[in-house]
């Protein structure tokens, strides 16, 4: 037996040495330096050598801390620590299996036990057993189907605890408001929760996690925390203090990684998945119901909106129709107002013109009387002088000039008289072209004197129109006079006629275009006013165009003036044919 142990020990040492020598090439580090960790004193080694058989008592069903599986293997959290201890110490304990806590206590009392694998400090008799520093520590937790974060949240609820565990005493002492129900084991407690017999179970995290996982609970989980931990340590015979020290040393040499590795193997602290819990389904159905209600609400809202939109659209259509009708009425009223305005304007113009005519009539009569008598006196005087005196050529020219001046003054007065009186036309069907040609015949001496070239473009086959021939002669003579005076010597006069307009509204147009300077924009509006002239003083009476327009007004014809693009003035006269 001793040889076997020594041989195993030597084999382990060789293996460990080999692994250590390989570390630099593997890049790994040992979690625990076994040889160094178990730095037992000579006396301790000697003590171990003198006690080759150490009896370890275990519990057969203290899941997940220690139990025996179907194949009879000792397993669990405590079992893993025992295996580690055996590995570190290079020895094996003799295992004594207790089927229940009572048998465990009986073994201890009998003195046949050297070590208890995992026990609470209060679970072994202090006079015979000494408990090392706890190496298995797990927090107390609340296991339930709903959320209870702490014991206070379970006030008034039935809370299960497992018989023989510390949790019943703890809750009784700290949370007397809870209704404590003792259960035989954790599995029974979980089933009671599932059936709604109790609200929650208070246990340690390792036990709760192990059973939830093992039982496949989907609606129960660890939901809260209890302010107390489960602490288990190794208990050794009190009369073997060396063994207690050795255990303490070995346990102290266990690294954090090794503790975590053992813990991970037995505790399945998977976070409760939402999909597996009642909360999930509650939330799911609540969510679906919310979505459905929202959708229905949206549909109803949408339908309501559609109805509102349709109603609003109908109203808008009505309003639009009303507005369109109102707009048409306004437009019609505006047009009527515009027509009235134009009529009023025309009437006003006629009144102004009539007033002008009246004032011109009064003026003309007075002027005619006051001026024509002296003119006649001068004319008769000149007649007398010419016949009574022998005049040289110069005197004859002077007399002739004076007679011309008298004629000019007479002409001005006659113009005044002519248009201060209401005129009645003597109209006959005439050829416009012929009237123009006759008018040009009457002024041909003026044209030739000034070297004016006349270009006639008279459209043939123009319909005859009703004209007072003499008056229209006067119009064209006046216009030609004006053009000749406006143009420099050797100017060009272009006279054309043509028919225009649409069927039923045919008009005859006569255009007289000169090569003079045209007229300024500022003169356009005043050019037809009586006594308004752009000619030098003494050259024009300012009545020519006024007379022309009055004659044309009597004919229902229009006269327009415009400056030509290439210079000169163009006068357009438009005669209606009907």
């Amino acid at each position: 037996m001793e040889f076997d142990s020594l041989s195993k020990y030597l084999k382990r040492l060789i293996l460990i040495s080999l692994l250590i020598s390989l570390l630099p090439w593997t890049g790994l580090t040992l979690a625990t330096d076994v040889a160094a960790a178990v730095s037992l004193s000579q006396a301790e080694r000697k003590w171990l050598a003198e006690h080759p058989e150490i009896v370890l008592v275990t519990q057969a069903r203290s899941y997940p801390f220690e139990f025996f599986d179907d194949s009879g293997t000792y397993r669990g959290v405590a079992a893993d620590y025992i295996a580690l201890l055996e590995q570190r110490l290079g020895m094996r304990f003799k295992v004594l299996r207790a089927e229940n806590p009572a048998q465990l206590q009986a073994y201890i009392k009998s003195g046949a036990v050297d070590i208890v694998a995992a026990t609470a400090r209060t679970s072994v008799p202090a006079q015979s057993m000494q408990v090392a520093r706890p190496h298995i520590v797990f927090p107390g937790v609340i296991v339930a189907g709903d959320k209870y974060p702490d014991l206070a949240s379970l006030t008034g609820k039935k809370v299960a605890v497992v018989k023989g565990r510390q949790w019943g005493h703890f809750i009784g002492a700290n949370s007397p408001q809870l209704q404590i129900t003792s259960m035989s084991d954790v599995a029974t407690a979980l089933e009671a929760i599932s059936e709604g017999k109790v609200t929650a179970l208070v246990s340690d995290m390792a036990t709760a996690s192990y059973y939830i996982h093992r039982e496949g609970m989907t609606d129960i989980n660890i939901v809260g925390r209890v302010e107390k931990d489960l602490e288990l340590g190794i208990a050794t015979r009190k009369d073997w203090p060396e063994l207690n020290r050795i255990m303490e040393k070995v346990l102290a040499g266990i690294s954090d990684e090794e503790h975590e590795a053992i813990s991970r193997q037995w505790i399945h602290l998977k976070a409760p998945t939402l999909i597996m819990g009642k909360t999930f389904w509650t939330l799911l159905f609540s969510g679906l119901a919310t979505v459905l209600l929202t959708f229905l609400g949206f549909i109803l809202w949408n339908r309501s909106l559609r109805q509102q939109v349709a109603a609003r659209t109908r109203n808008l259509k009505k309003e639009l129709e009303w507005r369109t009708a109102a707009e048409m009425e306004i437009q019609e009223a505006y047009e009527q107002l515009n027509r009235s305005h134009n009529e009023l304007k025309e009437t006003q113009l006629q009144l102004i013109r009539a007033a002008k005519m009246e004032s011109i009539g009064s003026l003309a009569a007075g002027v005619a009387h006051e001026v024509k008598n002296p003119l006649m006196q001068i004319r008769l005087g000149l007649d007398y002088v010419r016949d009574e005196l022998v005049l040289d050529q110069t005197c004859q020219d002077v007399v002739q000039d004076m007679e011309t001046a008298v004629s000019c003054a007479d002409s001005v007065i006659n113009s005044l008289l002519d248009f201060s009186r209401e005129k009645k036309l003597s109209r006959e069907l005439c050829s416009l072209n012929k009237v123009i040609e006759d008018s040009l015949t009457l002024v041909r001496h003026i044209l030739s004197q000034n070297g004016v070239q006349v270009h006639l473009q008279l459209q043939g086959q123009l319909p005859k129109i009703l004209l007072d021939e003499n008056k229209i002669h006067q119009v064209f003579i006046n216009l030609v006079h004006n053009a000749v005076q406006a143009m420099p010597r050797n100017g060009t006069l272009q006279i054309s006629t043509y028919q225009s307009g649409s069927p039923g509204k045919k008009v005859l147009v006569a255009e007289i275009a000169d090569s003079g300077p045209g007229i300024g924009k500022e003169d356009m509006d005043k050019i037809f006013d009586p006594f308004y002239t752009t000619k030098p003083v003494g050259k024009g009476s300012g009545l020519g165009l006024y007379v022309c327009r009055n004659i044309l007004d009597l004919h229902g014809a229009e006269i327009e003036l415009s400056n030509r693009d290439n210079g000169g003035l163009c006068i357009t006269i438009i005669f209606k044919t009907d």
């Binding site: 007398y384 009574e388 006659n414 002519d418």
Partner: protein
């Protein structure tokens, strides 16, 4: 010698007519510048033709014409109105007639006067 009476309120004018007509040696001309004296002078002078201004301050020519026509001794005397309120165009119809009356539009020349006298009192 034909006797011609000129009635016009402008003395300068009547004087010039008188000078020009009498210069021909064919006419005896008497002038009157006051309208109110027209009938009396006409009765006294017994002219063959009267040139009568229309617009006169004391008595208009048309009123004088009515009086002349009302006077049996004077009603056959040729009467020609001299007026400033008609134009030459108004009277240019060959007979210087407006509404059956003879008119001459001022300013009248000596030729116009002689032509009118010859027309109304042909010498044959």
């Amino acid at each position: 010698m034909k006797k011609i009476l000129v009635i016009d309120d402008e003395p300068g004018l009547t004087r010039m007519i008188k000078l020009n007509l009498e210069r021909t040696g064919k006419f005896t001309v008497r002038t009157e510048n006051c309208g109110k004296n027209a009938i009396r002078v006409a009765l006294d002078f017994d002219p063959d033709i009267i040139f009568l201004d229309i617009m006169m301050p004391d008595l208009p020519g048309d009123a004088i014409a009515e009086q002349l026509r009302a006077e049996p001794r004077l009603q056959n005397i040729k009467l020609v109105f001299l007026t400033a309120i008609v134009t030459r165009d108004d009277t240019a119809d060959g007979h210087n007639l407006i509404g059956g009356h003879h008119f001459l539009a001022k300013p009248v020349s000596t030729k116009d006067l002689l032509r009118t006298i010859e027309m109304l009192l042909p010498t044959t």
